[in-house]
């Protein structure tokens, strides 16, 4: 009989990433449904001090692999360390974050453990002790429900920003157990880690996104979107047309060959709404479109549309947001 559910936390820049709390919350739900304990795995350099805080989000006990050599995620070193912790128990499921590192780790770990992996899930349910997971395919044009073979270990990576996160309960610290870290000799390594300290909001984790397309006409015009984004605490995204034109970095591209995002609010400015773009942002809770062409397909998906010249409308909108914020 399985005795636990595992959640693998992600530690970067001295703290756990928010998505790890979402994963822990989801793990708690599943562990309760199955009547087993929730174990955490925390890997990194200097992670010991923070480990007990995973308890705030429902983890009962955390296994910690703390070593300077584990500063950055490298598959070849992380996978054996995490696999050896999981192999000590008989888990009913392993949950991870479908973050950049989490997706890469999940895939290799699944091969190591010969587990069935449902990547980037948006919902997990437990029916009569069996798990079922839902994941978007074709960049969200369709949704797939997955089930596991009877003898299989279910592995689930959870899409950031989707699953409910419990309120932190600071009275609930997790038990912490340090594991002896044996890092195998590796033929790969991280040679540089550059963290952006400007406080820029990550697209895949943003609550609000302001995106610009070909209608922005030039790189420097994005300053009006940056200003709006600053007022809203939003991240700035782009269509492929804007990225291909060299106006924005590739990491800003939203769509089927860019990032798939799911904010509360997506404001599409000067974007026509091509199928590949819609695939990347169609699951946003609210969509606003600003476009001078009333026939632009984006309006068929938008909750609120404004038919205006963006160069006139965006500054006026920013000003109104500012006014609203100052009176709130």
């Amino acid at each position: 009989m399985a005795d636990c559910v595992f959640v693998v936390a992600e530690f970067r820049g001295g703290d756990f990433r928010r998505v790890s709390y979402e994963v822990a919350s989801e793990g708690r739900k599943i562990a309760d449904a199955l009547g087993v304990s929730l174990y955490g795995i925390a890997v990194g350099s200097g992670v010991t001090d923070k480990a007990s805080q995973l308890g705030f989000y429902g983890v009962d006990k955390v296994f910690v692999a703390d070593d300077p050599a584990l500063e950055s995620y490298v598959a070849e070193t992380y996978v054996p360390v995490i696999a050896s912790i999981i192999e000590q128990a008989d888990p009913a499921a392993v949950l991870l974050a479908a973050s950049v590192d989490g997706k890469d780790l999940s895939a290799r770990l699944a091969a190591r453990l010969e587990a069935g992996l449902a990547q980037d899930c948006t919902e997990v349910v437990c029916e009569d002790g069996a798990l079922k997971a839902k994941r978007p395919i074709f960049a969200g044009k369709c949704l797939a429900w997955c089930e596991w073979a009877e003898d299989a270990l279910p592995m689930i990576s959870c899409r950031p920003n989707v699953m409910d996160c419990r309120d932190a309960d600071a009275t609930r610290e997790a038990e912490v157990e340090a594991v002896a870290v044996e890092i195998p000799e590796a033929r790969s390594r991280a040679t540089g880690l550059e963290l952006d300290t400007s406080g820029k909001v990550e697209l895949t984790e943003a609550e609000i996104i302001v995106s610009g397309g070909r209608g922005m006409k030039a790189s420097e015009n994005f300053s009006i979107l940056e200003e709006l984004a600053t007022e809203l605490g939003a991240a700035v995204g782009a269509s492929r047309a804007a990225v291909d034109a060299g106006w924005r970095p590739h990491s800003d591209q939203v769509g089927q060959t860019g990032k798939v995002v799911n904010p509360n609010l997506y404001i599409a400015v000067g974007i026509s709404g091509a199928i590949q773009h819609l695939a990347g942002m169609g699951s946003s809770k609210y969509i606003v479109a600003v476009n001078k062409d009333p026939e632009a397909p984006i309006f068929t998906k938008a909750d609120y549309g404004v038919v205006e010249d963006l160069f006139k409308f965006v500054p006026a909108f920013t000003e109104e947001v500012r006014k609203m914020k100052s009176t709130c």
Binding site: R12, V100, D120, W145, W148, D196, E207, N264, F317, V321
Partner: protein
């Protein structure tokens, strides 16, 4: 340099996806097929490595005969040869099974480096590359937006949330490709390239040819499977904010709606 690219054929990104009568698969009759864009980036990166170091680029793919067209397209871009694993036993296989078959085909080729997309734009599994590397017991580096090799090591830049990492591996190693068209700018096939591609060697293999038993990588070995598909809730066109308002009026009304109705700002 002996370079292998893992290539998957996927429906065109323009495709409208419809659920088939079985409720578990999609309608494929009227689809146009393309090289998975991220694998196309891998073909481009492979050709650049070949231009720098010499050697060969071999495409390794799996799927039915229609995949030949995509392999020929990669050859028209400049790849030298191809291997297609075409075996009905792989239908219903999960990522573990497919990656086992791919790894077996790669092993026979003894490459210095394997490149492939970080994900495919159809089922978005993001599993194949790391799994193949695990079966080969090789290091892998994921989500490259820049790639360079001196012939004995490979270095990539990997974007992560809020930053980037530089990673390095000794060869042989596997690299998965991230980025976008703007980063890799994959070349088009030239007309002479298309002519030459027709004569380039393409081997078709079954699981048995690779020394694999369907019981270890086919449907019966699958640990996970899709049991049903559903369409996401259809989005309805909402409200166009007009009411004869001027620009400022519309801006104010949009702020009000987002603040009071949607409660998102």
């Amino acid at each position: 340099m002996n370079i292998v690219v893992l290539l998957k054929q996927t429906p065109d990104t323009e495709s409208v996806i419809r659920i088939a009568d079985d409720g578990q698969s999609i309608v494929t009759d009227d689809l146009k097929w393309i090289i998975n864009p991220y694998d196309e980036f891998a073909v481009e990166a492979a050709l650049r490595l070949k231009e720098k170091h010499g050697g060969t680029v071999t495409i390794v793919s799996y799927g039915p005969q229609r995949v030949v067209e995509s392999i020929r397209t990669a050859m028209a871009m400049g790849a030298d040869k191809g291997v297609l694993i075409d075996d009905p036993a792989l239908e219903g296989a999960d990522s573990l099974g497919v990656s086992r078959a791919l790894a077996a085909a790669v092993k026979e080729l003894e490459p210095d480096i394997v490149l492939c997309g970080s994900r495919a734009v159809d089922y978005d599994q993001a599993q194949r590359g790391p799994m193949v590397a695990e079966w080969l017991e090789w290091p892998h580096l994921g989500l490259a937006v820049a790639l360079d090799s001196d012939g004995s090591t490979v270095t990539i830049e990997r974007p992560i949330e809020g930053g980037k990492v530089t990673l390095e591996a000794e060869l042989p190693a596997l690299v998965t490709m991230g980025g976008s068209h703007a980063v890799w700018n994959p070349r088009y096939a030239s007309l002479p390239g298309i002519m030459k591609a027709k004569k380039k060697p393409l081997e078709v293999k079954t699981l048995a040819d690779l020394g694999l038993d369907p019981a270890e990588c086919g449907e019966e070995a699958a640990k996970i499977r899709i049991v049903s598909l559903e369409m996401p809730p259809e989005r309805q066109a909402g409200r166009i904010i007009d009411d004869g308002l001027d620009t400022e009026g519309k801006a104010a009304e949009l702020v009000r709606a987002l603040h009071e109705e949607a409660k998102v700002i």
